[in-house]
C-alpha cells in the first residue's frame, strides 16, 4: 500500500438529466490522470469508464456521487446513484441491450454498450443494484506498473 499522501481522492456529484454538463466529470478525471503521468492506455480506459458511467447517471438516475481514488498502482472509481435501479443486471450487461428512449437514441446514446463497455475496460468490476433505490458501480483499473518513467 502506498503512503496515504500518495493517494489522491476526489468526489464529483452528477445530476440526472443534466445534459448540459454531460461528460464534465469524466473530462476532469481524464485531465487529472494525464497530469499524474499515468500511461496513455490506463487514461483511455479510465476515460471511457468514467464517461459511460457519468452518462448512465445523466440518462437514467436522479443523482449520483462519483468517488475517484488514484494511487500509482490503480484508478478506483465508485459511482453510487440514487435512481430507478436495474431490474435485470445480467441483461443490462448484455451488449446491445438498452432501455433508452427514442429521444436518447436521437442524441446518439442508448446503443446498449454502456455497462458492457465499462466492464470490458475495467480490471475489477462490481455492480450492485436495487430497483427503486439505485445502482452502485465499483471499478478498478490497474496501471499495471505502466507508469511513465
Amino acid at each position: 500500500m502506498p503512503a496515504a499522501e500518495a493517494i489522491y481522492r476526489k468526489g464529483f456529484s452528477v445530476k440526472g438529466g443534466d445534459f448540459a454538463k454531460a461528460g464534465a466529470a469524466a473530462c476532469e478525471i481524464k485531465e487529472l490522470l494525464k497530469d499524474l503521468g499515468l500511461d496513455t492506455s490506463t487514461v483511455r480506459r479510465a476515460a471511457i469508464v468514467a464517461y459511460e458511467a457519468e452518462m448512465n447517471v445523466i440518462m437514467y438516475a436522479w443523482e449520483a456521487r462519483m468517488d475517484l481514488t488514484v494511487s500509482p498502482e490503480q484508478v478506483h472509481l465508485i459511482v453510487d446513484d440514487r435512481g430507478p435501479g436495474i431490474a435485470d443486471v445480467e441483461l443490462a450487461l448484455t451488449e446491445g441491450y438498452s432501455t433508452a428512449t427514442a429521444e436518447m437514441r436521437e442524441l446518439g446514446f442508448g446503443a446498449g454498450m454502456g455497462l458492457p463497455n465499462i466492464k470490458r475496460n475495467a480490471d475489477v468490476f462490481a455492480i450492485d443494484s436495487a430497483v427503486g433505490r439505485g445502482t452502485r458501480l465499483d471499478i478498478i483499473i490497474r496501471t499495471n506498473g505502466h507508469v511513465r518513467p
Binding site: 502506498p2 503512503a3 499522501e5 500518495a6 493517494i7 489522491y8 476526489k10 461528460g23 469524466a26 473530462c27 481524464k30 487529472l32 494525464k34 497530469d35 499524474l36 503521468g37 499515468l38 496513455t40 492506455s41 487514461v43 483511455r44 476515460a47 471511457i48 468514467a50 464517461y51 459511460e52 488514484v70 494511487s71 500509482p72 446518439g108 446503443a111 454498450m113 463497455n117 496501471t143 507508469v147 511513465r148 518513467p149
Partner: protein, 427 residues
C-alpha cells in the same frame, strides 16, 4: 528542418503591451504574461492562431514564406488552397486567379480542387478497407494533428493516414516535373498559398512525413495585393480565361475549404464535420471518452467554418464562403478524377503517411507518480485559496493554471494580487 518545437506563431515584443487578451483566448493555456510581455510556452502551443485573431496591437505574427525568398529556385510552382477562389468578387473566375498568379511570378500554378476530390475518393477506399477503429479523424488541419499529439495522445491511431491534398499535389509534381522540365528537383520550388499560419509548421516539422514535399507557404494576405494588381491590368486576359477556360475544376474539391467539404464527397460512410478550436476540443474529448463510435469519419478544422475562416485570408469568411458555394454549384457534381487513378495511387501507398502520428512528450506534474499525486493534491488546495476571478493579473490565464504553474515551480502564490491583500481585509 524537423524541429519539434518549431512554431509559426510568435509574439513581437516591441508591439506587445502585456494586456491579457491572448491569455484567455488561448485554448491550450500556452501563454503567460511576465515583465509586461506575453510569452508562448512552446510545448503547449498548437499554432491555432487564436491569439493572432484577438491581439488588438498586432503583436502576434506568423512566420510564412516571403515571395522574395523564392528567388533561390529556378522554377517556381504555386499550389494555392481553394480558399483563394473565394477572395475576389463574383466576376473573377478561378482560371483568372490562377493566370494572375503566373503573372505575379510563378512559372506554373496548379489548381488543388481535383486533388481534393482524389483525397476524398482515397479516404473512401481506406474506410472501406478498415472497419475499425471508429471514428477516423481527418489529417488535413495541421492544428488538429498537433492538438491530438499533445492533448489526446490515445487518438493518434485514429488519424486517417492519407496525406492532405496539398502534400499529395506537391508529391505528384515533385515526382513528375524534374523529368518533364529537365530541371533538378532541388531547383524547383513548390509553394502552397494559404490562409493558414499552421501550414508552415506542417512543412517545416511534418508529423507524418520524413520531409514535406512543399518548400514553403505564402499567406493569401501577403500575396493578395500582387494578385489584385495583376488582375486589374488584364481585361484581355480575363476575357480569354472566361472564353477559353483551361482548367477543369472539381465541384467536390472546390468545396473542400468549407466545414464539411472534406467529407461531402463520401458516398457510403457516415461523417461529421466540426469547426472551431473549442468545439473541436469538445468533440475530441468525447471521442477520447469512447463516444461517436457510430461515426466513420470525423472532420475537424480549427478555424471557424473550415479553412475559409483561416486568419490569413483577406475576404471575410462569410462572403468567401458564399462565393465558393457559387463555384461549387457551377462546377457541378461530376467526377473530374478517374477512380482508376485513385485506386492505383492508393494501392501503391503513394497517398499514405510515411509514418503514423506519434504523441508528443507528455507533461505530467512530476515524473514520479507518487510525487505527481502529492502535487495534484497541493494544486487543489491552492485553487481553493485563489479568488476564481481568472483576471490574468498574475500572468496566467486563470486561477487553475496559476495553481498548476505554482506546483510545477514556475510561479508563486504571491503572484496573485488578491492573495496578498486577502488576510488584511477578511481574516
Amino acid at each position: 528542418m524537423n524541429d519539434k518545437n518549431f512554431h509559426a506563431i510568435h509574439i513581437t515584443k516591441d508591439k506587445c503591451i502585456g494586456c491579457v487578451r491572448c491569455l484567455s483566448a488561448c485554448p491550450t493555456r500556452a501563454i503567460r504574461v511576465g515583465d509586461g510581455k506575453a510569452r508562448i510556452i512552446d510545448q503547449l502551443c498548437i499554432d491555432c492562431a487564436e491569439c493572432l485573431r484577438v491581439c488588438p496591437h498586432d503583436a502576434v505574427h506568423s512566420h510564412t514564406t516571403s515571395f522574395a525568398s523564392l528567388e533561390a529556385f529556378d522554377y517556381k510552382v504555386a499550389i494555392p488552397s481553394t480558399v483563394i477562389y473565394g477572395q475576389f468578387g463574383p466576376t473573377v473566375v478561378p482560371n483568372e486567379i490562377l493566370s494572375a498568379l503566373r503573372r505575379v511570378g510563378f512559372d506554373e500554378v496548379y489548381d488543388l480542387s481535383s486533388i481534393c476530390e482524389l483525397n476524398c475518393a482515397a479516404t473512401e477506399e481506406y474506410l472501406n478497407e478498415h472497419p475499425r477503429p471508429r471514428p477516423y479523424i481527418t489529417a488535413t488541419c495541421p492544428v488538429v494533428v498537433r492538438i491530438i499529439q499533445r492533448r489526446y495522445p490515445s487518438l493518434c491511431g485514429q488519424i486517417l493516414p492519407i496525406e492532405p491534398p496539398r502534400e499529395i499535389a506537391a508529391k505528384i509534381l515533385r515526382t513528375i516535373l524534374p523529368k518533364a522540365l529537365g530541371i533538378p528537383a532541388e531547383k524547383i520550388g513548390i509553394i502552397h498559398i494559404t490562409p493558414c499560419p499552421a501550414k508552415i509548421v506542417s512543412i517545416n516539422s511534418p508529423a507524418t512525413l520524413a520531409k514535406s514535399y512543399l518548400d514553403g507557404a505564402i499567406s493569401i494576405r501577403d500575396i493578395f495585393p500582387q494578385i489584385l494588381k495583376a488582375l486589374r491590368k488584364s481585361d484581355e486576359d480575363a476575357m480569354m480565361r472566361h472564353l477559353f477556360p483551361e482548367t477543369l475544376f472539381s465541384g467536390t474539391g472546390m468545396g473542400w475549404p468549407l466545414s464539411g467539404g472534406e467529407t461531402r464527397g463520401l458516398k457510403s460512410h457516415r461523417a461529421v464535420a466540426v469547426s472551431g478550436i473549442r468545439d473541436t476540443m469538445r468533440v475530441l474529448d468525447e471521442v477520447e471518452g469512447g463516444l461517436l463510435q457510430d461515426i466513420d469519419l470525423l472532420e475537424c478544422t480549427v478555424c471557424p467554418d473550415g479553412c475559409v475562416g483561416g486568419p490569413l485570408g483577406v475576404e471575410n469568411r462569410f462572403l468567401a464562403k458564399s462565393r465558393i458555394l457559387e463555384l461549387v454549384a457551377a462546377a457541378g457534381e461530376h467526377a473530374v478524377v478517374d477512380q482508376k487513378d485513385v485506386s492505383r495511387l492508393y494501392h501503391k501507398n503513394f497517398l499514405s503517411f510515411d509514418h503514423p502520428v506519434t504523441p508528443t512528450e507528455p507533461r505530467p506534474l512530476d515524473g514520479d507518480p507518487a510525487k505527481a499525486i502529492r502535487k495534484a493534491k497541493r494544486r487543489e488546495k491552492i485553487i481553493v485559496d485563489l479568488p476564481q476571478k481568472d483576471c490574468g493579473v498574475c500572468g496566467a490565464p486563470d486561477c487553475r493554471t496559476l495553481a498548476d504553474d505554482i506546483v510545477r515551480g514556475y510561479a508563486r502564490l504571491e503572484d496573485c494580487p488578491f492573495v496578498k491583500t486577502a488576510p488584511k481585509e477578511k481574516r
